[in-house]
């Protein structure tokens, strides 16, 4: 397992009750594992092995099958994300307009690499392949906010505005 995390699992009984409802809803649906994982990630924010175990038991599948699917798709995360999730678009339209420099500026500013989370848990960085806002390239998203037509020097100020 390459995706390890030092953060212990802190699921609440409420979350588990929600998850059980989701599992019951998809148990008899053909191909129900993907929607279950998607909704489970919505509840917990990520898919730690504890959650995958509950899903495997609930759907009557082996843990290895659940783990196999969870690690296949880039949208599923086995490690927790920061309070603010930064996503720099590395799609073609953004790339030819220099989004790699935006990503480097974010990494330099926060002192972490793409795929990592800052020690204080405030920010995590990911790159993504096209959010479809190619007209605004290069684009970065912080949580649900989209920042378009970016330059590397704007990055610092944008990130500072999330620190409060």
């Amino acid at each position: 397992m390459s995706e390890k995390t030092a953060v212990p699992f802190q699921g609440t009984p409420e979350q588990e009750a929600q998850l059980k409802e989701v599992i019951a809803k998809h148990r008899n649906q053909p191909g129900g594992l993907m929607p279950t994982l998607q909704e489970a990630q919505g509840i917990y924010g990520y898919l730690p092995i504890e959650v995958q175990t509950i899903i495997a038991d609930g759907l009557g599948k082996s843990l290895s099958e659940v783990y196999g699917v969870a690690t296949f798709y880039s949208q599923f995360s086995l490690t927790p994300k920061g309070k603010h999730r930064i996503s720099v678009c590395l799609g073609t339209a953004c790339y030819v307009k220099g989004s790699d420099k935006i990503l480097e500026a974010v990494e330099a500013k926060l002192g972490i690499k793409s795929g990592e989370c800052t020690a204080d848990g405030l920010f995590s960085i990911d790159s993504c392949r096209c959010v479809g806002a190619c007209g605004l390239a290069p684009v970065m998203m912080v949580d649900e906010d989209v920042y378009g037509k970016l330059t590397a020097e704007q990055v610092g100020k944008i990130l500072d505005s999330y620190k409060d």
Binding site: G31, P35, T92, A93, A105, E153
Partner: protein, 637 residues
């Protein structure tokens, strides 16, 4: 729902929608009859939403409330108009006044001056729509729209996608009625075949033939599916169609289901497209409510329903067998074909799978006839194609052109040319599976055959324009980086081959390339093309091969001279401050994101403050210092 009820809804709403397609005096008269003096269209596509169009919508509604003209003005949130770089976009009818890059302050003026007093705010209009003498020209007369032919996008930016009655007003669901009422499945499949429509997902397989195969496949249970897993980074036409005209897909899938004998449909859509997913779900719910999905549609004894399945970020799931495996809830790995999905697809049953843009043409082919569709385009590529125009081009956005339009018309006329006085270098089509069309082939007519002949492909329709500042070796490395990430790992030629290709390209861009590397690349590419399991691996070498073919000199410069002619590859570059030019203003140091610029003790002759220098060990070569230095004291070597 009966045809009489459908026609009643159409009659009730038709004029309101029609106001948005005609302008000038006729539009004025019609607008007066509809009960709405003015209509304000606000783009609610992802591009404009990202530029803040929802705030514009709120501001507009507040202003209308405040001025007391709310009941006379109809506000419509539409899908994408296509000119994404000008967002947020607001259009006022019946004048057809096209306001670009709207702001809340601008909205106040538009309400006070235009909507209340009837005076168009000319200074806020998109400049291409205002003549030098101050008169307004229609948006459809601008260079951007003039050469376009909107079929797949006909309702995008025109109707409210969350209101089924607006779709019905534009002949929506008439084709479905025609099919259920008076056509046999054979006739429908034949009509689609005769139209010459080919798969718009990239491969270009004749759509009618696919429908016939699935129709003729034995089996009681069949499925239809829609591929909305638009994975090519830089392509966003499928998303825009789902956001702007979702009922067109529902109607087409229902027609397809009747033709092949299916009763359940699935739309597999990227989870990265939340707006599209939402609109499609709203549309499905409305279609059910109106009896256009579900049991006994139009009372003709035909049942059909659609379910949305979300992807989870895997490019390979755009491949048909991988997509179906993913809907089944598994790792989205492709499997060998045959058997093709038409024989053995979803859950082992015969399955018809088409892409969003392909479906968006179906209802219009049924209504207007195969001959109408076949009258557009070239001999072997009929109809139109939507392209997502991106990269170094003035009018970034979505364009739909008849097949056979030349690349020059797209880039120079529709796209408005290359910004900042730079030179066109190449256009990339087909994304990670495609290749480049260099400047010397700019007069190539765009269709399936001519693109393949140039070593590129139609692909799903991403068209990325590159100028002299883009390094072609770097661009191929970018695509290989993508395919290394996205290779599912099932077959060795793709899993290992993409990685080896990427390593070789990295070696070259790092300045460590050797002449024999180019031979190794060609050899490896040949094996990958012939032995990979699916199109992802088979086409992954295309970006390298095509750039190698047309820009071989650039590869050689990296290998033999250890230089990057475009000035992109970092390991072949360094940044330096020319100390005698530096006045010590510190702008570079303040803006450096890596804190790599420090003050020195040296004061240049005639200057008052000490010069700065770059700590190359910390420098990330982002170029911010260059853009910030007014004296051009920072140079790139």
């Amino acid at each position: 729902m009966t045809i009489e009820q459908l026609n009643e809804i159409k009659a009730k709403r038709a004029d309101i929608v029609k106001v948005r397609t005609i302008i000038a005096e006729e539009g004025e008269k019609l607008a007066a009859q509809t009960g709405y003096r003015k209509q304000v269209l606000v783009c609610g596509g992802t591009g404009c939403t990202s530029s803040g169009s929802m705030k514009i919508l709120d501001a507009l509604n507040n202003e209308l409330e405040a001025t007391g003209i709310k009941d006379e003005v109809l506000v419509v949130r539409t899908g994408c108009f296509g000119l994404c770089s000008l967002g947020p976009i607001v259009i006022v009818y019946p004048e057809g006044a096209f306001y670009a890059q709207a702001t809340p302050e601008g909205i106040k003026r538009i309400v006070d001056e235009h909507l209340v007093k009837g005076e168009v705010c000319k200074d806020l209009l998109y400049k291409e729509t205002v003549h030098e003498d101050g008169s307004i020209i229609s948006l459809y007369e601008t260079n951007f729209y003039k050469k376009q032919k909107r079929i797949a996008l006909r309702n995008c930016g025109v109707i409210d996608p969350e209101n089924i009655e607006e779709y019905i007003a534009t002949e929506g669901y008439q084709a479905l009625y025609k099919v259920l009422d008076s056509m046999t499945p054979d006739q429908v499949a034949q009509e689609i075949l005769d139209s010459g429509l080919r798969g718009r997902g990239g491969a270009g397989f004749p759509t009618g033939r696919k429908w016939m195969f699935t129709k003729d496949a034995p089996g009681d249970v069949k499925y239809v599916a829609c591929n909305a897993d638009e994975g090519d980074p830089g392509a966003f036409m499928d998303r825009s169609i789902l956001e702007g005209d979702p009922h067109a897909i529902i109607e087409a899938m229902t027609i397809a289901a009747y033709t092949v004998g299916a009763c359940q449909g699935f739309v597999y859509v990227r989870a990265e497209y939340p707006v599209a997913v939402h609109r499609l779900q709203v549309a499905i719910d409305q279609a059910r409510e109106y009896g256009l999905l579900g049991k006994n549609i139009f009372g003709k004894g035909f049942d059909f329903d659609i379910e949305i399945r979300l992807g989870a970020g895997a490019f390979v799931c755009g491949e048909e067998t991988a997509l179906l495996t993913s809907i089944e809830g598994n790792r989205g790995e492709p499997r060998p074909r045959p058997p093709f999905p038409a024989v053995k697809g979803l859950f082992g049953k015969p399955t018809l799978l088409n892409n969003v843009e392909t479906y968006s043409n179906i209802a219009q082919i049924i209504r207007n006839g195969a001959a109408w569709y076949a009258s557009m385009g070239t001999e072997k590529s009929k109809g139109t194609k939507v392209f997502a125009l991106g990269g170094k081009i003035t009018n970034v956005g979505l364009v739909e052109i008849p097949m056979g339009t030349t690349l020059r018309e797209i880039v120079e006329e529709i796209g408005g040319g290359i910004p900042n006085g730079k030179k066109f270098k190449a256009a990339q089509t087909g994304g990670p599976s495609g290749g480049c069309i260099p400047a010397q082939y700019i007069d190539t007519p765009i269709d399936y055959e001519s693109l393949s002949a140039l070593g590129s492909m139609m692909g799903s329709g991403g068209l990325i324009v590159m100028d002299e500042d883009n390094c072609m070796v770097d661009v191929s490395k970018f695509y290989l980086d993508f395919t290394v990430d996205e290779s599912c790992g099932k077959c060795t030629p793709c899993r290992i081959g993409t990685r080896k290709l990427h390593q070789l390209l990295t070696k070259i861009t790092d300045g460590k390339g050797e002449p024999k590397d180019l031979e190794t690349i060609k050899d490896l590419a040949t094996h990958m093309k012939s032995s990979s399991l699916c199109a992802l691996g088979q086409s992954a070498p295309n970006p390298v091969l095509s750039t190698l073919q047309y820009f071989g000199d650039e590869y050689k410069a990296h290998i033999e001279n250890k230089t990057c002619p475009a000035g992109v590859c970092k390991n072949l570059l360094s940044y330096e401050i020319v100390k005698d030019k530096c006045v010590g203003c510190g702008m570079c140091a303040r803006n450096c994101p890596a804190s790599a610029i420090n003050k020195t003790d040296y004061i240049a002759p005639g200057k008052k403050l000490p010069a700065y220098e770059i700590d190359t060990s910390k420098c990330i070569k982002c170029g911010v210092c260059i853009t910030n230095c007014k004296l051009k004291a920072v140079i790139k070597k």
